[in-house]
Amino acid sequence: MRIRNTAKAALALFICATVVVLPAVPAQANSALDQYVEEVPSTGGGQNGDGNGDGKDQKGKLDPERTKELTGEGKTGEALLALAAISGPSDGGSTGGPTAGDEGNGTAKAGGASADAGKLDRSTGISNSLGSATEVSGLNLPLFIFVILLAAAMGATAWYRRARGGRHS
């Protein structure tokens, strides 16, 4: 019974860690064109507040109309809503976290990806390097790794105890 509880706790810990931490990790950017891909906003808020501090508007919520539409789209829509509910970008992703070129946060310029004049450089020449643009929140990554390791350790302990118990019986 105790062994089973430990295994369950390890699994629960892993799932919680994934749900809590993953939304804070921006989508892996393989190319500049990924910047055009839509992220699923939070139903509870978090991203892109209204301009100039107008507190009346809902901040970054999923459009009520879209919520209604998605509800009407059956299972797919509901799944998307559920995803929106758990995967909205954290506040840090939009307001606190380091985003494109923070003012006064200047460092060396990225090694110029100058495209030749005859070619559209919307993506060429920058795609390879943008992979490194994917940023993982400094606070959440170590926590994530710690929780994963803890869950793995707990799982291993449970497995070891179970194996030993089986041998003794």
Partner: protein
């Protein structure tokens, strides 16, 4: 008699005034264009014209035309200053105009010496403009407008100028936010645009300045376009936009949007402040409110909205793109959807597919009207070309009617034959008269219960549109670039 003459004069003056206020840019018809046409050979421009487009758009690489290091002694306002290198652009403009196209030039990027900050490498890999000096951009804008004023070195006249690209996206403009996470790009871009506007207009007040097109989605690297636009125009409120107390004016004649979608042509952004093709009304409402509040100072009382970029990658060649048959439908429908949202001009991005150059399909654009060959001459037209050239849609309306809309490729007045394919043959429905810009629309009665079956096409002087199925097609997820 004199009184009658003066009354007539007053009446005519009023008519001119009304025309001006109505927005001459959105006069008869619905002109289309092709954006980011970077090749400058005559074949390229003849293909743009052959796509039914009257406008062609290209970047003007400020960082490549201007010297890499600012000379100690030069005149950046002088279009013939020897430190500038305009040769490729001269050819581009000359060939575009020779093909009967109206060129639109977009100042793009900035030389390092004009930037007033440096960008944060992990985010801004492309070395985008980082708070470029508005005075420097104004000098370049003036030189650009002067070079193509129609009186310099025998070069043609250019009227349409755009200041930068997607300033709400870190890929093309920085910084987006300050160290505290507060958006700063709208304010920085406003100053930049205003100075650019004044410089271009100082050369010829009839020149038209277009604000930079906005990227559609908020994300880690981008401000939401509606949020950006509100801040740019010093407005607040999503449902009922109104001016803030701040004293601010944006100088622009046209507002531009790039409403790429995550689905089909009617798709809406999940984010309240995102603007995809199905959301253009939100931006239109904000611009109208900004106009009423005199936040936008341009040549039209009602600032027109343009879409200078829209497309999807096609499958083939991109396996992640939209299947070609569906894309034919979406292409026509996208042109219609923008028109429905009162967009005055619509541009397709772009003429030819991008070369993969060993990169994954998802990292390059295959949204051209032409499959890319080894050379421009070897490019092959995609099936979507005709859908862009002769956009036509048909939807069942009520129980016994069909709504049809289209624009003939010649953009000419005349009768358009509407035909429906049923029972193995094309049957003629009621013809529709196209206006002087080639636009036509009509609700046509058909036998009850038959208006959701079959396909419909339009025929105009031997030109046949892509048949449009009356069967509704559900929206489906699609990445704009595969």
């Amino acid at each position: 008699m004199r009184r009658l003459l003066s009354l007539t004069f007053v009446f005519l003056a009023m008519l001119v005034g009304v025309a001006q206020h109505a927005g001459v840019a959105s006069a008869a018809g619905y002109p289309t264009g092709v954006s980011y046409v970077s090749d400058n050979d005559p074949t390229t421009f003849s293909r743009v014209a052959g796509a039914g487009a009257t406008m062609v758009h290209s970047w003007v690489r400020w960082d490549q035309i201007a010297p890499a290091v600012e000379p100690e002694s030069w005149n950046p306002r002088n279009p013939v200053d020897p430190n500038y290198n305009w040769s490729a652009l001269d050819t581009w403009v000359t060939n575009a105009v020779a093909a009967g196209l109206t060129p639109m030039l977009q100042v793009y990027y900035s030389p390092d010496w004009a930037d007033r900050c440096v960008t944060n490498p992990p985010i801004t890999i492309t070395d985008p403009p980082c708070d470029p000096d508005p005075a420097a951009m104004a000098d370049f804008g003036r030189a650009l407008a002067k070079r193509y004023d129609g009186n310099t070195l025998g070069l043609p006249k250019v009227r349409y100028f755009q200041g930068q690209n997607e300033p709400n996206l870190g890929l093309f403009f920085g910084p987006q936010r300050n160290a505290r996470g507060v958006p700063v790009s709208p304010r920085l871009y406003r100053t930049l645009l205003n100075r650019f506007y004044e410089a271009v207009k100082s050369v010829d007040s009839r020149n038209i300045v277009i604000s930079a097109g906005l990227a559609p989605n908020p994300n880690h690297w981008a401000l939401a376009p509606l949020d950006f636009a509100r801040r740019l125009f010093c407005m607040v409120g999503r449902a009922k936009p109104k001016p803030t107390r701040a004293k601010c004016t944006v100088k622009a004649d046209i507002v531009d949007m790039h409403p790429y979608t995550s689905g089909g042509p009617t798709h809406k952004a999940l984010n309240l402040d995102g603007i995809q093709l199905g959301d253009l009304g939100k931006l239109k409402k904000l611009v109208a409110a900004a106009d009423r509040a005199h936040r936008i100072k341009g040549m039209y009382a009602r600032t027109p909205l343009w879409v200078t970029e829209m497309s999807w990658d096609s499958n083939r060649p991109d396996p992640g793109g939209v299947p070609m048959n569906l894309l034919r439908r979406w292409t026509s429908q996208a042109v219609y959807q923008a028109w429905k949202a009162k967009v005055a001009r619509f541009f397709w991005y772009s003429l030819r597919d991008q070369s993969p150059n060993g990169l994954p399909w998802s990292a390059t654009t295959q949204s051209g009207l032409y499959f890319r060959g080894d050379t421009v001459e070897q490019d092959r037209a995609k099936p979507i070309l005709q859908a862009f050239r002769f956009p036509f849609v048909a939807f069942g309306k009520g129980k016994k009617a069909i709504f049809v809309w289209g624009r003939n490729p010649q953009a000419q007045r005349g009768w358009v034959s509407i035909q429906r394919f049923r029972h193995g043959r094309w049957q003629k429905l009621k013809p529709v008269m196209a206006d002087s810009g080639g636009l036509f629309r009509r609700v046509i009665r058909v036998p009850a219960g038959s208006n959701r079956a079959g396909t419909v096409r339009a025929v105009f002087r031997g030109q046949v549109s892509v048949p449009f199925s009356l069967k509704a097609v559900k929206d489906r997820p699609a990445r704009p670039f595969g």
